[in-house]
């Protein structure tokens, strides 16, 4: 795949914004309605497509490009691994977005973006024109981030950081561990999708092992000196899974890890351990299509906080994990929140609807053991420089069982609210 049009528009937001005023040229074909193409039908993309379609009352033509017919949410995929949810309960289809909102859902990969012509090419051969393009392709992994691991090893040492078959595989491998065996996780460096995700996963794996294989051990090699909700997780681990989990931070070599998928070994700072199941979560970057579009700086695509427009090209909005926006964590909640700001900005640009000041929120719930839920959250505002945190809260160590149960139930309610906000 060629295409790197980096710099075509002069690579400044100013030039891009000026260029975007000449939008109508791409509208020539078809209905004459302004066209929005959304790439990626996940937390950011599905929400954004739905809000643009819903709020523009048919004035905007919305196409959503997503290769898979079933979206498995990463959120609650850890609960699936623990047997608390089944796979069906975290799977969603795009049926309603097409039938109830009139979105043109195309199941294909976007393989090329021509920013000059404002077109998107699909793997199947079609080319679509756009007035505004929304990119929410999630994450890909940084090549060579964990020595010994690459995508060809993902079935032996799953990442399970895109949900679906990877989650099934990891679950099966954990359940097949011999009595007293060892599970290892190679945790990712910052920034990455879902900061508490690896640690909720550890909790959920400990939950299965406690029931099925109580003498098993869990080893985490972590390049970060501290992690999200650390006090809450470590308190929970000692209460529920005492002695089962060993966390190796960078002071003890957690950042110097190599794996060997054929031998099933993990080497931490030169010390080799034989493992029975291994979850490698490599360093991450924006979904590849962002690179192809030439809108990334480093691993991520920088955006203007007020509208989620790419800083490189004003007719492209980047949402969710792929964006570099400032203080928000890379979470489904955050992607959903950003999507609404982008949808408003897109409608305003194309139909002149009102532009209200951007507001963002996030809350991440995590489950430590059945009925023991915790949460962390914050609200944010757009400044010129970044999405900036305004206010936040976090669950406390020592909360009673009733409150933790209520927090868990709240997360179940959030899951329903969130997925119906995405898919209708």
């Amino acid at each position: 795949m060629k295409l790197n049009r980096r710099g075509f528009l002069g690579a400044t937001a100013g030039a891009a914004a000026a260029a975007s005023l000449s939008a109508p040229m791409a509208q020539a074909s078809g209905s004459g309605k302004p066209k929005v193409v959304v790439i990626g039908g996940g937390a950011g993309g599905a929400t954004c497509a739905r809000y643009i379609a819903k709020d523009s009352n048919g004035e905007i033509d919305v196409t959503l490009i997503e290769p898979t017919r079933t979206y498995y949410t990463c959120f609650f995929s850890n609960l699936y691994m623990a047997g608390i949810r089944d796979l069906r309960s975290i799977s969603h289809s795009y049926g309603k977005l097409a039938s109830d909102y009139g979105i043109n859902v195309v199941h294909d990969w976007a393989v090329n973006i021509d920013r000059e012509a404002r077109t998107v090419s699909l793997a199947g051969g079609a080319t679509l024109t756009y007035d505004r393009l929304v990119l929410s392709p999630g994450i890909d992994f940084v090549d060579g981030a964990v020595p010994g691991w690459d995508l060809t090893r993902q079935n032996k040492m799953p990442h399970a950081y895109k949900a679906g078959s990877q989650s099934e595989l990891l679950k099966a491998q954990i359940e097949a561990m011999p009595e007293g065996g060892t599970f290892a996780m190679v945790a990712p460096p910052n920034p990455f999708r879902c900061p508490p995700g690896p640690y909720e996963r550890i909790s959920m794996i400990a939950h299965i092992l406690k029931n099925r294989n109580p003498t098993a051990k869990i080893l985490i090699a972590d390049p970060k000196p501290k992690f999200s909700k650390q006090a809450l997780f470590q308190d929970g681990w000692s209460r529920h899974y005492d002695g089962m989990i060993e966390w190796v931070g960078p002071d003890f070599g957690g950042g110097a890890v190599e794996v060997n998928a054929d031998e099933m070994t993990v080497s931490i700072d030169g010390e080799v351990t034989k493992v029975d199941a291994c979850n490698v979560i490599p360093a991450m970057k924006a979904g590849r299509i962002c690179d192809m579009a030439g809108i990334t700086e480093g691993n991520w695509a920088p955006v203007i906080p007020h509208t989620m427009q790419s800083r490189v090209d004003g007719s492209i909005h980047v949402l969710g994990d792929a964006s570099n926006q400032g203080d928000m964590p890379k979470s489904g909640f955050a992607a959903n929140s950003q999507a609404k700001v982008a949808a408003m900005a897109v409608r305003s640009a194309l139909t002149g609807s009102k532009l209200f000041p951007a507001k963002f929120t996030n809350t991440c719930w995590s489950l430590i053991d059945e009925g023991d839920g915790v949460k962390v959250g914050a609200s944010y505002e757009a400044t010129d420089e970044k999405i900036a945190k305004v206010d936040g809260f976090i669950s406390q160590v020592g909360e009673d069982a009733e409150l933790r149960q209520a927090t868990y139930e709240e997360s179940v309610g959030w899951y329903r609210g969130m997925t119906s906000d995405m898919f209708g």
């Binding site: 809000y51 909640f333 959903n336 929140s337 609404k340 408003m344 009102k354 209200f356 507001k359 929120t361 809350t363 949460k375 959250g377 914050a378 609200s379 305004v390 206010d391 936040g392 809260f393 406390q396 020592g398 909360e399 009673d400 009733e402 409150l403 209520a406 139930e409 709240e410 997360s411 179940v412 309610g413 959030w414 329903r416 609210g417 969130m418 119906s420 906000d421």
Partner: protein, 250 residues
């Protein structure tokens, strides 16, 4: 709704409208160990009987000490979770730090359903449903507070949204279109189907209840941290806009 009509409707719904004037006069001169005064809204003598249920944990009167529960001398006007030497639940202690000071209304709500008021309270008490019993009990307890003058100026409205919000705030006319935009922040969690599982539905609420509930979070009178944060960022106009929208949305 005009301000006058608004007040009128609040008055009709008020459960405690009669409390105000009578208590004020009854309690003049009431102090530690003062003679029992009967009054219209609550009878301290009856209250003494109701207090039987509380006695195994709480002491009140001269020389009362903390026991299973904190002593109740001076509870009116006391900051929540702040009696020295008593170990409160985190929730109550936090409410106190955020400024909650016990007055008639707050105590009334707390006693009515302790867990609903402070979900982690250590008070193992199912709650006192009868309004008159609560009034009697509080009339009894009031005698042991130096400064029992915290009588609600304006009676609150509905159960569950008890919180006093200034009439000028209640009178703000919200713009439902703006509310619709703002509502997208709510629908990340609250389903538009109105489902109540795990997270309460907020569709079709009377605008006034919505405004009162949101201000109860904004003022950190209701304890939920997510909602305190969300409401804390909303201006009075934005809350009115949301209320206007959620009242009519289907």
């Amino acid at each position: 709704m005009t301000e006058a009509a608004d007040k009128e409707s609040r008055h009709h719904r008020c459960r405690r409208g009669k409390i105000r004037a009578t208590v004020a006069s009854a309690l003049v001169g009431a102090a530690l160990g003062a003679p029992v005064l009967a009054n219209e809204f609550g009878d301290p003598e009856q209250g003494l009987r109701v207090f039987d249920d509380c006695k195994s944990c709480h002491a009140v009167g001269e020389g009362a000490k903390n026991r299973v529960g904190p002593h109740l001398n001076g509870v009116f006007g006391r900051r929540a979770g702040a009696e020295d030497g008593f170990s409160y639940s985190n929730g109550l202690a936090r409410m106190g730090r955020k400024g909650l000071v016990w007055d008639f209304d707050l105590l009334d709500r707390y006693i009515e359903n302790p867990k609903a008021f402070a979900s982690d309270t250590r008070m193992a008490y199912r709650g006192l449903k009868d309004e008159q019993d609560r009034a009697d009990l509080l009339a009894f307890l009031r005698q042991y507070s130096d400064n029992p003058g915290d009588i609600p100026e304006a009676p609150p409205t509905l159960t569950g949204t008890d919180h006093s919000v200034a009439p000028e705030i209640l009178a703000i006319q919200g713009d439902p279109d703006y509310g619709e935009y703002l509502s997208s922040e709510c629908t990340s969690c609250h389903q538009l189907s109105g489902s109540n599982d795990g997270i309460p539905g907020i569709i079709g609420w009377p605008a006034e209840d919505f405004v009162i509930a949101m201000h109860a979070y904004k003022d950190e009178f209701r304890p939920h941290p997510v909602m305190q944060m969300m409401a804390g960022r909303l201006s009075n106009e934005e809350i009115a806009a949301l209320a206007a929208y959620f009242e009519v949305v289907e």
